[in-house]
Symmetry: C2
């Protein structure tokens, strides 16, 4: 109880510290924020030292540094937990849709509004608060804890696989814990057992060598923006299925049991529609929204750019058009294979009069784990203690590409316990994290350490 | 001959003056250049006074001012010519494709490189040089000349129609001369007898209320960028014909005589392909490129924007997608009618899950004139004198929306004598005007005044 009381007593300070971290615009996708990512790493290392981790290092990589913090004073035979998270954040654009500046955290209506609040700084920091509470109250933890917090998750963790391999001895653990996901509903603790993979592509269509006057040339020159539109329009059929040959070959279909478990969850299609604010939902025929998001692969356009997009009318026939296209993948699709079939298919759709280039920008494998073993059992009990009800097993539609690497490189099971909530706007304007979940999450993690004793 | 010698003697100074004007970034499409457009108008008025026009006014409108300059000292019975042009220019973007800054004119390889060089400052200024030469050498012109130079041509001349109506007495003339077009080939003087009209639209597709995480929601939410791509892809059929119901109803088909005249022009498809630098040309089936550009209506995408378009990969499911779409129109299409059928058709293509808004940004009617009468005959002789060969009658694919208004409001015939050249990059990076045509154009206009005596 002392640990829990410590956390409650220090809630305000904990939140202030998190806000300090959120003020650092550690955007990994933009090279001009290189210094900010370094600063965010150093900030975290400083806090790790302050709460009493024994060894804290900011380890340089070919990209942004990795922060490693260790506390290894648990009784012999106690398990070692590795806590993985990331301190980098998504770009905040479009800026004019934020109600408050993305890097000036605002606490309002029980939410912390800031880029990175829930994805993933808030969820990383609550683990450190759990450690701090144990060390402050008991001088020790019942388990060994190793933090591994990287700065390139939002760009596909290009350097972490190598890092894991190079530090495999130091990172040896009994389980990996990740909090970078959401709960199914407010107050309903959730363990995530599946994630979708990702193949993120850029399609570039080149028509004429330079922009042309659409009057002087229009009608005789193939318009690259129209060519791109035609290519994109052919990637789904009328049932919302993706038309790329071979795309579904390895898709593991949902079992009837899994579909029944999904149907039993507290979910209303209309609630999701209201949450996203679209006039209607839509997707692959024959599936509900939860199935579509958890267990069906997708193809989305993430960005489009061509010609003149400013104020007013410019009569230009553009030289080129670009689309960012990403596919969410499910077990047992392989993102390298999907990249290949995507590239082949898109190039086969290129009309005469333009050239089409396709580049794979980043990718990650889908993941699914049966929820069993000592860590899962302890996690279930800890969440039940903190939230007063048993957790549900869920999946997420998003990707944490590194989950696979942990399993493969460290040979340890991975458990995903998320403290985000639906509608939290991760990757979108007005990202927020529930203040309650920030605090209850710290309590759940503190309880988990005890359950693992 | 004295007039011609005067022009030759002063070539260097004339070019320097033009460059001074080109340095003013008089971009009408961007409100932040309001002061620059005013400055460009005042600069021209100053030059008109300096060469000896009798009355020069910079007349305020609801938008950018109109410059009016008059010389009315011709013998009784002499005709009055109205010279129309524009001092506003297109936006210079994309800036990184310019070999030299767009508003720092560079003379190189016989070309003046600058935004507005050929469209339309260079072509306006050569008329003033012709007037200057006559006044300097003879103290008088054989005809009355009225300049009318506006600052909103590139945004559809929203205020000029009203201006013409309000100043109809002052602007009364026997013919309107416009130099804002190109010659068919270098050294081949050309009179333009047809222009395409324009209907410029913006299509906005809204899906979810805000940008979403493409992992957390992808598959269950209709992607507005894909919806836009599907709409755009349905606007042409496999033969390159536009599918909008009613679109071709009023199109005047080419006569066999017109097709024969086009076939007789010195034109190679491969030359056009090389000029535009595309891997192949393409367009409506059954027509050659000159026919497609001169006499067939088009539908082009001028701009596309959705989601994340910066460096790297951002996994966003965008809230909205935008396309700028313009249609070039031919006699007897009516741009108001085309706007209506476009809006109706595009809205009818909106899939469930998104809302579609369509806005008409600007438009203008197509134009065609039989090349006959006193002014045309004099223009043919003057061009033959300046270039040593008879001019050809051509059309242009671009639009000068105000041409119709001149005919209707002033009741005067319009003659278009262009001194641009193919490949001049009007509306594109590295716009240029031929130095020779700037000087020969002034000679041709000076000769025209004599031919009209």
């Amino acid at each position: 109880m002392a640990v829990s009381e410590y956390l409650q007593r220090n809630r305000e300070r904990s939140l202030e510290e998190l806000n300090e971290w959120l003020r650092i615009p550690s955007i990994s996708a933009k090279s001009e924020h290189r210094d900010d990512t370094a600063r965010a790493a150093e900030w975290l290392a400083g806090r790790m030292r302050a709460v009493g981790l024994q060894t804290v290092d900011v380890v340089a990589t070919a990209g942004n540094p990795v922060v490693v913090g260790e506390w290894r004073g648990a009784p012999e035979g106690a398990p070692t937990l590795l806590v993985y998270g990331h301190y980098d954040v998504q770009p905040p654009e479009p800026l004019d849709e934020w109600n408050s500046p993305p890097f000036e955290p605002v606490v309002k209506d029980g939410r912390i509004y800031a880029r990175g609040s829930v994805d993933d700084k808030g969820q990383v920091y609550l683990h450190l608060k759990a450690v701090e509470a144990h060390l402050a109250e008991n001088g020790a933890l019942p388990v060994n804890v190793v933090f591994l917090v990287e700065g390139e998750e939002e760009v596909g963790s290009p350097n972490l696989g190598k890092f894991l391999q190079e530090h495999v001895e130091r990172l040896r653990c009994d389980a990996v814990m990740i909090s970078d996901t959401t709960m199914f509903a407010p107050g309903l603790p959730s363990i995530t057992v599946g994630l979708r993979g990702l193949a993120y592509m850029e399609v570039r269509v080149q028509g004429p060598a330079t922009d042309l006057h659409s009057g002087a040339y229009g009608g005789a020159v193939v318009n690259p923006a129209l060519a791109l539109a035609r290519i994109l329009s052919q990637l789904h059929d009328a049932d919302g299925r993706i038309t790329i040959p071979g795309f579904y070959d390895r898709v593991r279909e949902l079992t009837q049991e899994q579909r029944d478990a999904i149907a039993a969850l507290p979910f209303e299609e209309e609630g999701l529609r209201e949450e996203v604010g679209a006039p209607a939902l839509g997707g692959e025929k024959g599936f509900g929204s939860v199935e579509r998001i958890w267990a069906r692969p997708t193809l989305d356009v993430n960005g489009l750019l061509s010609g003149y997009t400013g104020e007013g009318a410019k009569t230009v026939l553009p030289a080129r058009a670009m689309a960012k296209v990403s596919m969410r993948l499910v077990p047992n699709q392989d993102y390298k294979e999907i990249e290949r079939v995507f590239i082949d298919h898109v190039k086969s759709l290129a009309p005469e009069g333009v050239t089409v280039e396709v580049e794979a920008l980043h990718g990650g494998q889908p993941w699914f784990a049966e929820p069993e073993g000592r860590l899962f059992d302890a996690a279930k009990r800890a969440l039940a203690r903190a939230y007063g009800r048993d957790p549900v097993m869920i999946r997420e539609g998003g990707s944490i590409p590194i989950v696979q690497s942990f399993q493969e490189t460290l040979g340890a099971p991975v458990v995903l316990i998320g403290f985000g909530l639906p509608g939290e706007n991760a990757h979108a304007p007005n990202e927020w994290m529930s203040v309650d979940n920030f605090h209850q999450g710290a309590e759940a993690i503190a309880a988990l350490y005890e359950e693992l004793r």
